[in-house]
Symmetry: D4
Subunit: 218 residues, 8 copies
Amino acid sequence: AFAELDLERTARRGFPEAVYCAGKTAAQVGAIAAAVAERPDVTTLFSRADDDHAAAVLAALPDAAHDPAARLLAWPPQPPAPTGGLVVVLAAGTSDLPVAREAHLTARYLGRPSELVVDVGVAGLHRVLSKLELLRRARVAVVAAGMDGALPSVVAGLVSAPVIGLPTSVGYGAAFGGVAALLTMLNACAPGVSVVNIDNGYGAGHLAAQIAAPEPSR
Amino acid sequence: AFAELDLERTARRGFPEAVYCAGKTAAQVGAIAAAVAERPDVTTLFSRADDDHAAAVLAALPDAAHDPAARLLAWPPQPPAPTGGLVVVLAAGTSDLPVAREAHLTARYLGRPSELVVDVGVAGLHRVLSKLELLRRARVAVVAAGMDGALPSVVAGLVSAPVIGLPTSVGYGAAFGGVAALLTMLNACAPGVSVVNIDNGYGAGHLAAQIAAPEPSR
Amino acid sequence: AFAELDLERTARRGFPEAVYCAGKTAAQVGAIAAAVAERPDVTTLFSRADDDHAAAVLAALPDAAHDPAARLLAWPPQPPAPTGGLVVVLAAGTSDLPVAREAHLTARYLGRPSELVVDVGVAGLHRVLSKLELLRRARVAVVAAGMDGALPSVVAGLVSAPVIGLPTSVGYGAAFGGVAALLTMLNACAPGVSVVNIDNGYGAGHLAAQIAAPEPSR
Amino acid sequence: AFAELDLERTARRGFPEAVYCAGKTAAQVGAIAAAVAERPDVTTLFSRADDDHAAAVLAALPDAAHDPAARLLAWPPQPPAPTGGLVVVLAAGTSDLPVAREAHLTARYLGRPSELVVDVGVAGLHRVLSKLELLRRARVAVVAAGMDGALPSVVAGLVSAPVIGLPTSVGYGAAFGGVAALLTMLNACAPGVSVVNIDNGYGAGHLAAQIAAPEPSR
Amino acid sequence: AFAELDLERTARRGFPEAVYCAGKTAAQVGAIAAAVAERPDVTTLFSRADDDHAAAVLAALPDAAHDPAARLLAWPPQPPAPTGGLVVVLAAGTSDLPVAREAHLTARYLGRPSELVVDVGVAGLHRVLSKLELLRRARVAVVAAGMDGALPSVVAGLVSAPVIGLPTSVGYGAAFGGVAALLTMLNACAPGVSVVNIDNGYGAGHLAAQIAAPEPSR
Amino acid sequence: AFAELDLERTARRGFPEAVYCAGKTAAQVGAIAAAVAERPDVTTLFSRADDDHAAAVLAALPDAAHDPAARLLAWPPQPPAPTGGLVVVLAAGTSDLPVAREAHLTARYLGRPSELVVDVGVAGLHRVLSKLELLRRARVAVVAAGMDGALPSVVAGLVSAPVIGLPTSVGYGAAFGGVAALLTMLNACAPGVSVVNIDNGYGAGHLAAQIAAPEPSR
Amino acid sequence: AFAELDLERTARRGFPEAVYCAGKTAAQVGAIAAAVAERPDVTTLFSRADDDHAAAVLAALPDAAHDPAARLLAWPPQPPAPTGGLVVVLAAGTSDLPVAREAHLTARYLGRPSELVVDVGVAGLHRVLSKLELLRRARVAVVAAGMDGALPSVVAGLVSAPVIGLPTSVGYGAAFGGVAALLTMLNACAPGVSVVNIDNGYGAGHLAAQIAAPEPSR
Amino acid sequence: AFAELDLERTARRGFPEAVYCAGKTAAQVGAIAAAVAERPDVTTLFSRADDDHAAAVLAALPDAAHDPAARLLAWPPQPPAPTGGLVVVLAAGTSDLPVAREAHLTARYLGRPSELVVDVGVAGLHRVLSKLELLRRARVAVVAAGMDGALPSVVAGLVSAPVIGLPTSVGYGAAFGGVAALLTMLNACAPGVSVVNIDNGYGAGHLAAQIAAPEPSR
Ligand SMILES: Nc1ncnc2c1ncn2[C@@H]1O[C@H](COP(=O)(O)O)[C@@H](O)[C@H]1O
Ligand SMILES: Nc1ncnc2c1ncn2[C@@H]1O[C@H](COP(=O)(O)O)[C@@H](O)[C@H]1O
Ligand SMILES: Nc1ncnc2c1ncn2[C@@H]1O[C@H](COP(=O)(O)O)[C@@H](O)[C@H]1O
Ligand SMILES: Nc1ncnc2c1ncn2[C@@H]1O[C@H](COP(=O)(O)O)[C@@H](O)[C@H]1O
Ligand SMILES: [Mg+2]
Ligand SMILES: [Mg+2]
Ligand SMILES: [Mg+2]
Ligand SMILES: [Mg+2]
Ligand SMILES: [Mg+2]
Ligand SMILES: [Mg+2]
Ligand SMILES: [Mg+2]
Ligand SMILES: [Mg+2]
């Protein structure tokens, strides 16, 4: 009795519970995966899964989808048909890609259409400016950035959609593992930005799926 | 030439620029208010206005609406007719009221219907549980709390709408002027919470207005 | 002469000294275990024992009880018959289990009856609400939580027993290794919560044993 | 409707709600005091009351007890007859007295017998050692200290009762408004210490009253 | 003998010593000003001068130039004829103006041509983009910003001149008095940015004057 | 019974207790001063005395010595005849003078010969180098500095005497009220430096008096 | 499409983009190196390259220059002929050498003449004083230091050239991975110092190359 | 030319330079050791030496003394005959032993008589009280402690000798790697305590040797 899965969450909130693997043993995660096998009606995500966690999930759910970079597994492996508004995920640099993928896949597995764009940081403004047309189609934008974390401020100044700032731990020294980017985003001079925890791609993607949810689903 | 008002912001983003009064002299704010008088087509908000700032605004715009507790002025004084989804603003304690009002009024002046509920902190769970019917009608919830900042986690676990955590500087000692509540919200164990800066009622209200915007307006 | 065991502590305080293994060599811990073998009248705990420490203890005290997850050893292996009030230990998530077990076992080895309940975090309030009957029988509750650390505030609002907040280092990014949960608990909006160090299951269990001690024993 | 007093708290938890005045206007506190006048069956405390708050309470409840140093008011003014175990409150220095008084009075108004001892810091150990007889009669000790916050560690090493560490903001420079003392207490090398927020005399006294509560009252 | 003015500094370093008024009494500053009156050959700046400091300087040096917003005085009042490269000072918002002026005036009094541009923050990118022609003429740019401190990253990505990031204490909550902006600038994703202390307009202007110094003067 | 003066401290430690006025009411300090009047055999210092504290002391001890800048009073007013080694106190800048005077006077009132040298910061190395002869006669040096706090490292590299680093809160922005200087001194690359609390002139002077004590007195 | 190299940066800014390897997979870095092989007209630097990154670069660009201590690769391997002013790089201790080399090589590969001097920390002032002649020839000085970070203050007091403070993570305990040195440099009591991120040798070298750029090149 | 040993330091300061191995390669340390072999007249210490560093030193100086726990080597291996006052080193717990040994050996190799006492923390006051006679013979005490860092305050209250607080990184969670103990010691309520960096046994021992130096040697 080490875990009590919140199986009523989809009924209550419209979105299923995810299994946060960090801090759990592979055996515990495997047991949860085995229990999940009874519920193909619900899409279950396993986040922060290291290699051992992933092996345990795949032993119980061999056809689960697995993105090692994003440390994410999903079962059933096929995401739902997309409904609701478009979720655009931007990554400032290539090093932010794993976290950005976690957000992108989460939004997609929770039922939204989603696009991912990489390496559009503010050191070369023309890169993000060239994506304006896509950005203006977004119902919500997730903007992942480490180091100075400046990209969400710039994006929010260009579009009317809400922006979810996703600070990453990319950087060193006074980046303090993402704290610098987190503070930048909390202080965005353009209104319309809110922030999730450092490297929390899952949380950003979940929130984006809620914001872009189709009217009937709420 | 101490200020260059971003008058195209409504055209570009769908929401007008606000005047952040803190750090400006009353004379500067007054001059901006005088310039704003030419543009009754746009709703201008003056945030973080102390008594001197407010007097300067009212001298230029005598019929401006003024909420001293929220330190907010708006002109023209009448908010637009409400469109889009419902913005519900919750305040955990009475001491969080000024910040919660700033969020509530901002959402209202940016065009959304909005309801404000006060003193429903988690020390007496029955209080927030009694508001479930209202919360389930919300397109987005803004949840203001100081001290432990625990209320957004609880609310996010109960509803499918996105939750904007609004940490307040209420508390003392190891509340660190709202940092404790901010961290709590960034680490909300229920997905669906994002966070704005401490005491940033304006930012929370603005973001809520964007999330709840009617489809045609985007 | 690298250690001077405080063997009079049981006489003086009513509770024996524990051996904190972190920072000691396995050889030092083994030598202490050998000295302890002379004193079966006192229950000795070895906390924060890694695999090498555990092997050294077991070499000297082969029948010692060992809980690897909690990194705890006890000798003699049989806990005393339970006396005094009930210690209820709650863990918000499965990842908090090792620390919660350390608290639970400590309280039990110091002589109290104790119950352990896991995975009752505030993201699904129905889980903790379903344990109200047990909680109301507690003389003291230990509540372990990482991430937002919100569970102690909620529990304290529901019962009259004192609550010991036990922050864990579960979480990432702005969880800062348990600091976020620690601050949440220090700022609990419901009175009746005090806090021990991050991941300090031993300290929480010891304190709980003191609070729930039977009258004659003090 | 700016406040929703939790009047069922005594029934639910055995202890009444207190009114935290900081961040409330005097008018709000006065209105709460007027509502409280209907409930002489419950002891209501007003904590963190400045001069204006106190005047507003006394206007509505002229016979309320008022301790300006502790910034505390109580009504009805007469504390209940003492029941349960003894609460001993120690203050390391004279400068810690206001916070220590807040703890002492809170415990007393919540129904416990309580003793207050001042100026027994570790710079002169003979002072605390001379109080050992009193300390050993305590069911629980509240130990207030600023600067190095070392007194709770020393006291916990001398007695079997649980110790509530109450860090104060006394000190300067690297005392960081009580953070140094808070950390000291969280890291007490003697088990049996838990900690409340900096300067939170109310919280310490409330918790002490719970720990020392008579068996039947729970 | 409370001060020993470093009168040889101009000979040694090419730039005169400034008098940092904060923490000095008005009497001390006045005595220094009286001593300075003997040396019209050197331009002396008095920085961080409050009203009392300014009065004391003006009593000794009645024709000193005084900019109250920048809290700066200079004597002799006339800056030297401009030599060397152009120093461009940008302020992200109107609230950053006092600090930006301090930088601008310092550069000017140390002998450089200097231009000041205000209210070109990244929330409306068109504003800074409209200043590209001026920026490309700069030998060095000083970029003052509070809140998210994102402007220096953007500017550095657009020009080949070195950029001095000048974080200001504008903002609230998690701006932490300029720390957020400071960290942003230290982590600028565009190379070519270095940073001075928060609100240190004097230091930024001095450094800019050194970078833009004409070849013969070094 | 709000204070219990440690009158045996001189017998026990060789140095008398000082009265730390901050956080005490003027009435409390006055009462202590009145008690002190009975003990002219002991030199009593009153530290951190604001104007009200000073008036209360002077009412009870009219001939007490008072240095308002250092916020220090001493009674009896005449310091003892100097014995032991020389205490040299250096202040990096004029703004560090009040704290440096507190150290200088404390050492002097505790019986040592002491010299004070001001405005010898590392921005002009020739200033401290010109004091080498004095520094080499010191039994111990107290070096007060704010901002970068670099002076103790430089001094320790030049002399064989121990150096007490005395960080001051002089500076702004990322000086963090003296934390920057404190860290610099804790990390002095020249061995022979230890550090006291920020602005703790009393502590530095006391320690210097102990280090330079004449052999017989210990 | 995981990376979008900013190939126009040399045209736009006069300096090429560097590839920041940390956080990228070796495969990604190798693919970028292969793309770079098409552009021998631009000098490309690969910074923060671990052994795997270096192997991937060398597979694609076998003649690339590689400095393992500085974790830097450059291609084409021959730096441009030196133009512009002299960049002097100082390292306080031997442990600061890797970071200092990164700065030195970067400046050199971006086209400047550069000299590197090691082990001239302030604990033995004669060492830096013996380099005065070289320092006075510098157009800009980069000063790397860990621990107390005091060397830039001392250097800036001796020369008229601008100083770039380069804090390193050398030190332990309260060095906080370079934060102590960073703060020291931000608070340099000698004007003329600005600071880059901890261990950011690349950034310091790049900025130095910009400051010392020959007039025509800008 | 990666190192410039400060061979005149003994002449200048009376104490030789030590080689700080952390951050140096084994090859660099070995080369320094080879150079040192020419100077048997000076005692050279190698601090923070890991296994590779130690092997390199022993290759060049085969008879060097090596204490692996303290990570210290000394050559020539025989410490000087003891002169000057007694240095007493106390360690609060067994886990503090490595750092305490580093202090003890340093003081001894720099020429002082020294005694080391372990496991006398404040959780059992009788332990330190039983060492009073030894403590009162000390010319200076070094007191190493982690966790709450309370022992220096207690020791300073008992003796007239100066106390060097030596915080260790022992502890977990909110010990923050020794920061809690460091702050405790900086805020010691008993005057006479100064502090060195966390785990800086070398620095503490060096300073103690200076304080206890015989009169003629200075
Ligand atoms: N309370 C607030 N928090 C954050 N941003 C704000 C706030 N009030 C106004 N702003 C924004 O701050 C900018 C105004 O800065 P300024 O140019 O100094 O007036 C505008 O972009 C506003 O939308
Ligand atoms: N000093 C205090 N520290 C912590 N909580 C307090 C304090 N005083 C009152 N409270 C609690 O704060 C809550 C009152 O918040 P409010 O609804 O804003 O009055 C109640 O739950 C009180 O029990
Ligand atoms: N500036 C100071 N810094 C640190 N401790 C001080 C200072 N002034 C006095 N003390 C000590 O603080 C204690 C006084 O505390 P109290 O009993 O509150 O007066 C005595 O032990 C004094 O020696
Ligand atoms: N553990 C230590 N802590 C602080 N400083 C040290 C330590 N060991 C050696 N040192 C000093 O650090 C300097 C050596 O730096 P380096 O030139 O890199 O060898 C010398 O001044 C030594 O006296
Ligand atoms: Mg890129
Ligand atoms: Mg309430
Ligand atoms: Mg769970
Ligand atoms: Mg006292
Ligand atoms: Mg503006
Ligand atoms: Mg000066
Ligand atoms: Mg060296
Ligand atoms: Mg022990």
